[in-house]
């Protein structure tokens, strides 16, 4: 199974969901398939699931998708029990497991030696945790997760193939501003408040 094909299936169904993606080639692939100011690229390895949890708790009526990797999730396994404890029904946590630290020189991760991330998610308390074994199966469970209102964890074993796509065009601060402006507009709320200088008050 290729990650790019899975992302393509997801892009067709994601609508206005907010998408947080772990550092690495996956972010570039996702942004080429679904460019949006509602996408956030994560720079801290492991933090993808936690940032997505914060968004899901802060905007409970909006779907939030975490696009995670095996190396990333292995670094922040404790996000699984925290997510399970908070049970955000609007969070879909997807892990593309290629069994290597792809962005760091393709050394093997522990999942290549048998660690089962879906079993870990289930054991942490995320009941709706499953492997998608084929592209068709991935599309089916991802669509069900996006349309449903239950916390879901989806694992997909993918090859290490990368698809040639353009680089991510903006830096972290621009990503933040664009993302927040996107939230302000789509949710009709004010996040950045510009106060008058003290001399005017």
């Amino acid at each position: 199974m290729k990650r790019y094909d899975c992302l393509q299936a997801l892009a067709a169904e994601v609508n206005d969901a907010l998408v947080v993606s772990s550092a690495g080639a996956m972010t570039l692939e996702w942004n080429s398939l679904h460019p949006s100011d509602g996408n956030l690229r994560v720079r801290t390895l492991g933090l993808c699931s936690s940032i997505a949890l914060g968004m899901a708790l802060g905007l409970p009526h909006r779907k939030v998708v975490a696009l995670d990797g095996d190396g990333s999730l292995l670094m922040n396994l404790c996000s699984l029990p925290t997510i399970a404890r908070m049970q955000p029904g609007n969070l879909v946590h997807i892990v593309f497991d290629n069994e290597v630290y792809e962005a760091s020189g393709s050394k093997k991760t522990a999942t290549g030696a048998g660690t089962d991330l879906v079993a870990m998610a289930r054991a942490a308390g995320i009941k709706n945790s499953q492997w998608a074994k084929t592209g068709d199966e991935f599309a089916k469970v991802a669509v069900a997760a996006l349309r449903g209102s239950q916390l879901c964890f989806i694992g997909a074993k993918v090859s290490t193939d990368r698809t040639a796509v353009p680089p991510f065009p903006i830096d972290e601060v621009e990503n933040k501003y664009r993302f927040i402006r996107h939230i302000e507009k789509s949710e009709n709320i004010e996040i950045f408040r510009t106060n008058l200088p003290a001399s005017y008050v």
Binding site: T44, G54, M55, S79, T82
Partner: protein, 173 residues
């Protein structure tokens, strides 16, 4: 001032400053404060397994419009450093870091942790204020949140035992 009274004042101060998402990890000296956070209305409370994930949760919350704080021990602040640097500082995200100051003067434990807390905050360029007088707490919390939003950075408030009502005050410190 008892620990329970002090906890109420701090949590009310956080709410008055607009804080509505708080991620926490316990320390015995934070017990009363965390009990107050659990019971606070209008605040999303996220109990953590490790403090670093709290930085991600607060970042995510901020990006969708929440005002976020974490409450942890200084050991937990050390645990969080990579996320503070490559998420909070890199993306310029304001978060209040309420850090219990273990190893402060007079403590019988964590002297090394206490001794390195302020140097690490300084190295990260995080402005911090040591809280010793509960009377100052509401105003200091409010000002810290204003500074966090203005500077678009995390601001640390170091919570001492005397602030938390767990030993006599030393007003001249």
């Amino acid at each position: 001032m008892t620990a329970a009274e002090s906890a109420k004042i701090i949590v009310n101060g956080l709410k008055d400053a607009g804080i509505n998402l708080i991620a926490t990890l316990p320390d015995i000296n934070l017990s009363d404060l965390l009990r107050e956070v659990e019971e606070a209305k209008g605040v999303i409370h996220v109990p953590l397994c490790r403090e670093e994930e709290g930085m991600g949760i607060c970042a995510g919350g901020y990006l969708v419009g929440k005002k976020c704080a974490t409450i942890m021990q200084n050991g937990g602040f050390f645990n969080s450093n990579n996320a503070i640097v490559s998420t909070l500082l890199q993306y310029q995200i304001p978060v209040l870091l309420l850090i219990y100051y273990a190893g402060d003067i007079g403590d019988r434990t964590f002297a090394t942790t206490g001794g390195l807390t302020e140097p690490v905050l300084q190295a990260l360029g995080i402005r911090y204020y040591i809280m010793r007088d509960i009377g100052d707490a509401p105003e200091l919390i409010k000002r810290a949140q204003i500074l966090a939003e203005d500077s678009k950075k995390p601001i640390a408030l170091l919570l001492t035992k005397e602030l938390l009502g767990r030993r006599p005050a030393l007003t001249s410190l």
